[in-house]
Structure formats: C-alpha cells, structure tokens
C-alpha cells in the first residue's frame, strides 16, 4: 500500500508545518507590534503624544516638575499640539508661574479656538490671575 503510505506522510508533514507556524505566531505578533511602535516613533506627533501621556501620568501622581518637563518636550517636538500647551499651562499654573501659564493657554486657544475644555481651563485660571493682578495694582 505505497499510496496510503505517501498520503500518511503528507498528512504528518502538513501537521508538522502547522505546529511550526503556530509556534511562530506569538513571535510574529510581537514583531508586528514592535514594528508598529517603530513606525509610530518616527512620527513626531505620536512621539509628542507619548510625552503628553507620560506627563499626564506623572502629574496624576503629583510629580508636577517632571510633568512640565514632558509637556515642554511635547510642544518642542510638535509646536501645533494644542493639548500639550493646555497641559503645560496647567502645570505652570500649579507652580505659580502665571505669566508662562497665560502664554501657554493663549497658544493652546490659538491652535484650537473651539476647544471648550481649553477655554474652560483658561477662564478658571483667568479668574485667579485677575485677582492677583488687581491685588498687586489696586
């Protein structure tokens, strides 16, 4: 029964190939993810976004100086990134650097004039800033 033997061999070879492919699948998936990340790293907006995300994360833990450093890097990489300017303004506000905060908010609003969240943040900041200015020059 040579024919039956050949088909059995073919089936065994097929199963073996499938097992090899299935073993290689995780590695393929990782390569795909890494290559996606590398491609993303080449894109300045994605890099700036990564800095913003990191800044947001550390700000939530109370590490405001580190957050400011990240957001400053983000606007350096992508000067059209309104969210980064907004967050930077919040960071400056938290540190009491009102002049820098004001400039960062203005830039964020210029880049995204219709963004309600930026506008709301600015309104809240302005209320405090005006009060401080009024007290300094009654």
């Amino acid at each position: 029964m040579p024919c039956q033997d050949e088909s059995q061999v073919a089936i065994v070879e097929f199963i073996d190939a499938m097992v090899k492919i299935s073993r290689a699948l995780p590695a393929v998936a990782i390569i795909a993810l890494v290559s996606t990340a590398l491609v993303a790293a080449a894109d300045p907006h994605t890099d700036a976004r990564a800095q913003v995300m990191f800044g947001n994360n550390v700000a939530q833990r109370g590490l405001w100086r580190e957050a400011i450093y990240r957001w400053e890097k983000a606007v350096e990489i992508d000067p059209t990134y309104a969210a980064a300017y907004n967050n930077l303004a919040i960071g400056y506000e938290h540190e009491g650097e009102f002049g820098k905060a004001d400039r960062a908010y203005q830039k964020a609003m210029t880049l995204e004039p219709k963004n309600q969240q930026i506008r709301q943040n600015y309104e809240q900041f302005k209320e405090i800033n005006d009060r401080v200015a009024e007290r300094a020059n009654p």
């Binding site: 998936a29 907004n86 938290h94 969240q117 401080v132 007290r135």
Partner: protein, 265 residues
C-alpha cells in the same frame, strides 16, 4: 513540554500587549485633575521672621473689646497659617497711648498757641477713629517698639465695630384663604426695621526696623438682622471678622486655591 510552556508565555505576553494597546486606544481624551494654585503674599516679608500684633485703636460698640478680640484672633490665625513667628506680648492700649501722645503734642511751648486738637473719647464714629491715625505716622514710636522686640513686622491699625439700624423694603410670603376656603400664598412687600453691625478694620503693617508704614488694608463688612432677632454683638463681630481674615492672611502668607483643570491628550 518546555516549548509548550514557552509558547504559552509568549501568547500571554502578546495578549497583554494587545490589551494594553486596546486600553490606550479606548482611554478618554481628557480627564480632570485637582490642582492647587499658589498665591504669593501681597507683601514681601523676606526681611522678617517674626510678627508683633501690637494692638488696635478700637471703638464703637462697648460690649466688644475690639482691640483685645482682634489682636487675639489675628495672632491665633497667624500661628496656624503663617510661617512668621508670632510674638507673645501684652496687647497695647493704643487709644490711650495716642491720647497721651496727643496731649503731649498739644501742650503749648514758648510762643506757640498749642498743637493739634485733643482726640475724641469715647470713639463712636468713623470720623472719631480716623483722628487717631496720626499715631501710625509717629515713626519714632514704632521704631522704638520694633527695637524692643528685635525688629519684627508690626501689625496694628484701627477697628471700628458699630451697631447699625435701618429700615428696608423686604418681600414676604403671606398665606391667605380665598372665598372658597382655599389656601393661597401671596408676595407682599413692605418696610421692615432691621438692625445689625458694621465692622471697619483698617489694618496697618509697619516695618519694625524703621517704624515706617509699609501697607494698609481697609475693609468694611456689614451684617443685618430683623429687628426681632436678638443677636449677641460678639458673635456678629466674629462672623464679620471671618470675612476679613482671608484678605489679611493673603497679605502676609502664601495661599493655595484649590480647583480642578482638564488635562488633554
């Protein structure tokens, strides 16, 4: 067996990575974060480590000793809310000191017909208390006091706490029964007698090294009740001082304003 374990480990790493990517992708594009905005004190007090709440020229209501109460209250506030060390000293009877100084200045000298008018006592009005302000221009006096306490920042001034009564238009809701015996609520306005208190503190900040006036904070607060309400003067005084204290503290110590902002990504 070994390969099987490795494959499972790899598979779990991939699943975690995909989950992480998916989580990031699904994360909202904004979130609120609490912030504390620091406000620097109005005065630059870097030259002072200590503060002397010397006392106040006070007047108006006789039930409340506004000199003692104000000095005690400001001292306790500064002890807890300022980095300055509060000097524990006797509260000065500044109205008497001002009168003594005024009498000394009024005594006629050779060829002189006399100095300024004597100070009004008791103090009943804003006009009365304002005449005492010449005391705060006496830099020699304040410099000497400063030397006595090793050159602190001196807080002093005038506090006028007066009763006040007025009549004002007030809206009231009146219940009536109509022709069918149904209850009806009507708005009715009319004049009502009201009484209350006015607090006018004029807080002065003096450099104990030179005796010179650095800054003056003036405020005026008022509280009114219906004529039937019998509110003790002291509790009204504290209620009004509660409104004055934030401004006073912001002059001397940094403050933080709590709020929330929206972080974006």
């Amino acid at each position: 067996m070994w390969q099987n374990v490795r494959t499972r480990r790899l598979a779990s790493i991939v699943v975690c990575a995909i989950a992480a990517v998916a989580t990031l992708a699904c994360e909202p594009s904004y979130f609120e974060i609490p912030i504390e905005t620091p406000i620097r004190p109005k005065l630059d007090l870097s030259a002072f480590q200590r503060v002397l709440i010397a006392g106040f020229v006070s007047g108006g209501n006789e039930e409340v000793d506004a000199n003692q109460e104000t000095a005690r209250l400001l001292r306790s506030q500064l002890r807890t809310k300022s980095s300055l060390k509060v000097i524990d000293a006797d509260i000065l009877p500044l109205a008497e000191i001002a009168q003594t100084q005024s009498k000394a200045a009024a005594e006629p000298r050779d060829g002189d017909t006399g100095g300024p008018q004597p100070l009004p006592s008791p103090i009943k009005s804003e006009r009365d208390i304002d005449q005492y302000e010449r005391l705060f221009a006496n830099t020699a006096y304040w410099k000497q006091l400063g030397e006595e306490y090793e050159n602190p920042l001196i807080v002093t001034g005038t506090v006028l706490f007066m009763e006040r009564s007025s009549s004002a238009v007030v809206n009231r809701q009146v219940e009536r029964l109509d022709a069918f015996g149904r209850r009806r609520v009507d708005q009715e306005s009319g004049f009502a007698e009201r009484k209350g208190f006015v607090l006018r503190p004029k807080l002065m900040f003096i450099d104990g090294r030179t005796g010179a006036l650095i800054d003056t904070e003036i405020s005026k607060e008022e509280i009114m009740y219906s004529a039937q309400q019998n509110m003790p003067a002291l509790s009204s005084y504290f209620e009004l001082m509660d409104r004055v204290i934030p401004g006073f503290l912001s002059t001397l110590s940094s403050q933080k304003i709590r709020g929330t902002r929206t972080l974006l990504h």
